[in-house]
Symmetry: C2
Subunit: 438 residues, 2 copies
């Protein structure tokens, strides 16, 4: 069989020990966070490692929304352990931390800033070989198991930045829908909002063929390249999934899969871990996925970095952490009504189309109202999902706007694909309009 980088199926996590054995791993680092270390996703992995006779050490000190300090602590652990493979069990925070630990322990003489994106870091290319990393995502928003990106808060400057290199992409992602059963409400909602905003930003981004100037050499094409026929397919599909399932999930707690049911159906529990029929992991499928999904980002993501970076005292419900925290998904979604009202004039039909997918009746909508229609649809959606009432509910006020704007400006990589360029005044107005939603 060809090596594939993603395997999907209820129960695939049980196979992780065999995968490590296939890779020849003998001394494995299992990374996770304090909450997950008590939960079934980590237990399933540990059982599989034990069953397959694989030695491992656990690092469960991942910080939810990691920082340079928390990255460095994980790197130290990795350096001491001299591991020959990594397994990251958790959300984007855990997978990203594990990528950094793998990178810097494989390149022990590098300074931390060497590989961090410019202008904050030096953005050096990675030329050292890394160890295999198996990512077992437990949330359903970041897609970090498929990306060569590791994101963290750079505490000194209070900005989010990251490391971007294909070298840190996980060797294998095991996507097991059962893990999502354990996610608390707000984690489901916020990771879903990350998907929602990526899809909206991607679908309404500047199309690839309108970017200018043409680079003089193909090697200098940007990674964020604008909307295109393939990212459009994924964006629309992701919006349809969010529209159909996210609200249902948050309100009813349950997953819906196409998994094989117990046959004969012996218990109502056939879709949860405890089902006695589940000794053999269900059949899985695998694909090779790269970061082809989101090829454009704009306002919401650019503005989100200072919103989470400048957090004062807000502690997100359900995240069970001891530090102030605005989760990534929340920080992107709160500005979405304002942002899409602003951007709609460039590609109003696409804005209307997304509103329709999210449930709006657009039969009588006028093109010039596309932004308002989408914004209203988003506000209704957020209200029904019990989202905090805007930036004010997170502790921000008008006095914070200059700092929020300053924090957005360095994110040029992200915001320059916005269909409509944003001046400082525009950004101020967008933050102001996002203070209250309802």
């Amino acid at each position: 069989m060809a090596v594939s980088n993603i395997r999907y199926g209820a129960g695939v996590t049980k196979e992780v020990g065999m995968d490590l054995q296939n890779m020849g791993a003998k001394n494995v680092c299992l990374m996770t966070d304090k909450n997950l270390s008590q939960l079934p996703p980590v237990q399933v992995v540990m059982n599989s490692l034990v069953k397959n006779g694989i030695n491992f050490k656990v690092y469960d000190n991942v910080r939810v929304e990691p920082t340079d300090t928390s990255f460095m602590e994980a790197i130290e652990f990795a350096k001491k352990g001299a591991f020959d493979a990594y397994v990251a069990v958790g959300g984007g925070s855990t997978i990203d931390t594990c990528k950094a630990a793998n990178l810097y322990s494989s390149s022990p003489r590098s300074e931390f800033l060497d590989y961090v994106n410019a202008p904050i870091g030096k953005g050096k290319p990675v030329s050292v070989p890394l160890k295999p990393l198996i990512a077992v995502p437990t949330t359903s928003g970041t897609g970090s198991e498929t990306t060569g990106v590791a994101i963290f808060d750079y505490e000194q400057l209070k900005v989010k930045t990251g490391i971007a290199s294909r070298a840190i992409k996980p060797t294998l992602g095991l996507i097991d829908p059962l893990h999502t059963l354990h996610m608390p409400d707000r984690v489901v909602a916020n990771s879903g909002f990350d998907v929602l905003c990526h899809a909206l930003e991607s679908y309404t981004a500047l199309p690839y063929h309108l970017r200018s100037p043409c680079p003089s050499n193909p090697i200098s094409r940007p990674a964020y390249q604008g909307s295109n026929p393939i990212s459009d397919i994924w964006a629309v599909h992701a919006l349809q999934i969010v529209a159909k399932y996210l609200k249902r999930y948050v309100t009813q707690q349950g997953i819906e899969t196409e998994q094989k049911k117990c046959d004969p159906p012996s218990c109502k529990m056939c879709l949860v871990l405890e089902c006695p029929e589940w000794d053999c992991p269900l059949e899985a499928w695998s694909v090779d996925i790269e970061e082809c999904h989101w090829k454009g980002q704009e306002g919401c993501h650019g503005m989100s970095y200072p919103i989470s970076g400048l957090v004062k005292t807000y502690k997100a419900k359900d995240y069970n952490v001891d530090h102030p925290l605005v989760p990534h998904g929340l920080s992107v979604v709160l500005t979405s009504p304002a942002v899409f009202t602003f951007t709609a004039e460039m590609f109003p039909e696409r804005h209307l189309e997304t509103a329709k997918i999210l449930g709006a009746d657009i039969r009588t909508a006028r093109t010039q109202d596309a932004g308002l229609v989408l914004a209203d649809t988003l506000r209704k959606f957020l209200f029904e999902l019990n989202v905090d009432d805007g930036l004010a509910a997170l502790g921000y006020s008008t006095a914070d706007i200059p700092a929020l704007v300053r924090g957005t400006l360095p994110q040029e990589r992200v915001t320059k694909l916005a269909p409509r360029p944003q001046s400082e005044e525009d950004l101020s107005a967008l933050f102001e309009a996002s203070m209250k939603l309802y």
Copy 2:
């Protein structure tokens, strides 16, 4: 920029010289076939190589629908040339030949059968490093620029087989829609039929979670793994494209792209190569695509191999070759009405859904007629596209059926995912039913 394995855009081929320069190539092999060597796609590539000062040699002896003999001739050329990079400009025949040339010239001591799929060859894994290969597809059906597969007729046994290894996957694919402007009618139609059948077979294949038995180790999962949520998305999208554009193309000759028009629109030729405004290649986008598209295959492909392998005298129109030839797309599509009539009882809703996408009115269709409805839709489609009237038109008769059946049986890899298993009698009946279509 991250290295991406596919770049799409009208005009991207003009950049191939720069791409080779970026790769450090100094002595390049340009492979193509005799028809294409006279046409703009090859000329554009040559101009770009010259402009960027890259030394190259041309091999234009690729056989349309390659054989082991034609592969070996290309391999000899590659061995002698000691090239440090390859560019393949053509359809699946050219790209596949180039993959083989790259592989065996990088592994000069291997016997030809070493890397050929078992049971015909030894199916050895590839461990030697290959040279970079840039694929410039000129047809729009095979997707060979994204796969680690090279297909050929093994003349001795009159069967199609291939080489399958991730190692032979092209380093980069440059997808330039302009090249398709030069395709003759039947090449457009037949490469479109390949897409059509892959999409239908994939969408109606056994779902991944109904495959059995579960493999005991994830490493032994099959490459053809059944339908799944991701391949479903691509299959439906491909069907929509075929339904919307294929007939139009064949009848009207023209491409429809979302490319930037000349601004101000100075000529009606802005979408063809000769447009004077096209000095700067238009902006492009790139993705990393793997063979995630088609994860199930069934009847049509399994039965196609003997249909093309046992060809007697039929010479496909528009292919301009001096040997008998049943093009791959034609060999798969002719059995499609019979095959989908046969398979429909397993997943009738999916069969009806595809009929609808292809233009059928299914509002009053009954589930038990799903197969007939899809078959009628396909027949109408093929008739409108001037497709030969069944296997009889290719020179086959009832007397050939035993040989055709024998030629299908070794294709177990492919046919075992058919939603309904096929006995020898079933196969005979399917070939018989495909003798005449209209």
